[in-house]
């Protein structure tokens, strides 16, 4: 689209067929509905040259026309050139047309406004009560989100966030946390075909004030605040950004069960041997904050740290992660203290240093990962560090899998045992909750 509109170069975009609705929708909202788009079968990845040549020689699975004829026509035949100059408003209404409770529940489902589980209908009275949980004005813009980098941003107000918080079953006292999540601008409904979820970690006094769980079952369906704050984060994401519909605005190939409540929990600060996560990121112990991670997909787990081979065991867990999904260790307090006892990591930074060094693999294997080829190799060849230097390593030289700054440690759990896990995910930001009270 940039080449067409900004540089004046006639262009044809070739996509795989699974993305036809997505790319047509993006072209439409970008003001170029007549953009020339041609489709070939999915997948491209892993196909032989002969198989790829067959795609070129074959037909577009969407239009049924010969692929190359469509390409040639796309570059040479006049196209309408959009809807003409000007802007087109797409404003959304404040209220839904009044209807019966049963019909409204059906409508919310049909419009893909829910996570398909029953919701609380956002009446004016309920939304008004939710707005009582903050001093912010209902019409104040909280932030903006989009499901993926090539889609347009949508904005949302305090009232819109309140509507979604009501739908999730949250209580007004949770609302500052939900607003802080909305203010991050980090979507919990990313559209990536890798089927991502988000993770939200709450720190500070707000945890106790609203009864969040940092102990036994903290990441499970056993605490009203944890459950509904996380659900509200998901609903406000999908509605605030303008949708999360499979095949149109959500392309996660398998989906992700973590997305039901975005792995939302409180850190067990009281039982942690280290400083809390939000303090690591510049806030005071007395501050309340929420930190968000995106790209939550992979998980590894084990029990405790054995005296003889704990280093090797942890190294194997780390090497089991995809190198494009850096590790966030979620440690039960028992496991956290074992890291202190076994490794002498009295500071979290020392543990992260060690993890960075332990997570190594041969350069040849590293560069051959598909996601490294897709997202890191191009940046390395572009000269970006530390990846550019990694390119100089011999194929059998062991290199770090992750950047140190992408490795994180959080303490959560109720000490029923020393199980712990690694989430492959990307830390995004930490937002003050107090600012949204």
């Amino acid at each position: 689209m940039t080449l067409e509109a900004k540089y004046g170069v006639p262009t044809v975009a070739v996509h795989t067929d699974k993305f036809d609705k997505v790319v047509r929708s993006v072209a439409e909202v970008s003001g170029m509905p007549d953009l020339a788009q041609v489709f070939v079968p999915q997948p491209i990845m892993g196909k032989t040259p002969a198989q790829l040549r067959a795609y070129v020689d074959g037909t577009d699975p969407i239009s049924g026309r010969h692929v190359m004829q469509e390409v040639i026509d796309g570059l040479t035949r006049p196209r309408d050139g959009g809807r003409g100059a000007g802007e087109y408003d797409r404003s959304t209404p404040r209220l839904v047309e009044p209807d019966s409770e049963e019909n409204l529940h059906r409508l919310f489902l049909e419009r893909n406004w829910t996570d398909t589980l029953p919701i609380v209908l956002p009446t004016e009275e309920r939304v008004g009560a939710m707005l009582g949980g903050t001093r912010r004005k209902p019409d104040e813009i909280v932030g903006r989100m989009r499901s993926t980098h090539f889609r347009e941003y949508w904005q949302y107000t305090v009232e819109k966030v309140a509507v979604n918080a009501v739908m999730a079953g949250a209580r007004p006292e949770y609302f500052p946390v939900i607003l802080a999540l909305a203010a991050t601008g980090v979507t919990a409904r990313g559209s990536s075909s890798s089927a991502v979820a988000a993770m939200a970690v709450v720190n500070g006094p707000i945890r106790r004030e609203i009864g969040m769980n940092a102990g036994t079952g903290a990441m499970g369906p056993y605490n009203h605040a944890n459950a509904t704050i996380g659900r509200a984060y998901g609903l406000l994401s999908q509605n605030g950004q303008g949708g999360s519909v499979p095949g149109l605005s959500y392309m996660g190939n398998q989906g992700n069960n973590y997305a039901y409540n975005s792995v939302t929990f409180a850190e067990n600060e009281e039982r942690s041997p280290w400083e809390p996560f939000h303090v690591q990121h510049g806030l005071a112990l007395s501050d309340s904050a929420v930190s968000v991670f995106s790209g939550v997909r992979s998980t590894a787990f084990t029990l405790g740290l054995r005296e003889k081979h704990w280093r090797e065991h942890v190294g194997h867990l780390l090497r089991g992660m995809d190198p494009h999904g850096p590790p966030a260790l979620l440690l039960d307090p028992i496991a956290a203290r074992q890291f202190v006892d076994r490794g002498g990591f009295t500071k979290k930074d020392a543990l992260i240093d060690w993890l960075h060094d332990a997570a190594r693999m041969r350069a040849g294997e590293y560069w051959d990962y598909q996601l490294i080829q897709n997202y890191i190799y191009p940046r390395a060849t572009f000269g970006e560090e530390p990846w550019a230097s990694k390119l100089e390593a011999a194929a059998d030289e062991e290199i770090p899998m992750f950047r140190r700054e992408d490795i994180h440690v959080i303490v959560v759990g109720g000490e029923t045992n020393g199980y712990w896990r690694i989430m492959g995910c990307n830390y995004q930001t930490t937002e003050s909750v107090d600012a949204w009270r």
Partner: protein, 96 residues
């Protein structure tokens, strides 16, 4: 059963600004077409096959296979400028 009034949960989309497409070419013969590799999931290998097809069927077309400078998430004005300066048309692929 009485009707209820509820609020719409969706955010506010930006206005759509209509944009004009570039003028199309009268012919590809004698023109330079850039095949732009977005460097995702072996797209370069696919574009090599497309380039071979063009060489066989439209020998009057000059093709340039050009990988973007970094990842597809990053705008690449240097490459776009090159295509505008040296090319007449572009084929981008492969979107996924």
């Amino acid at each position: 059963m009485s009707n209820m009034t509820v609020l719409d949960p969706t955010g506010y989309p930006p206005k759509i600004s209509a944009k004009q497409l570039a003028p199309r070419l009268d012919t590809l013969n004698g023109r330079t077409v850039y095949l732009v590799d977005c460097r995702f999931d072996d797209s370069g290998l696919f574009l090599e096959q497309m380039r071979a097809w063009l060489a066989e069927h439209l020998p009057g077309v000059t093709t340039v296979l050009k990988p973007i400078s970094s990842v597809y998430l990053v705008d690449d004005p240097k490459t776009w400028e090159e295509i505008r300066a040296r090319g007449h048309a572009a084929i981008l692929g492969v979107g996924h």
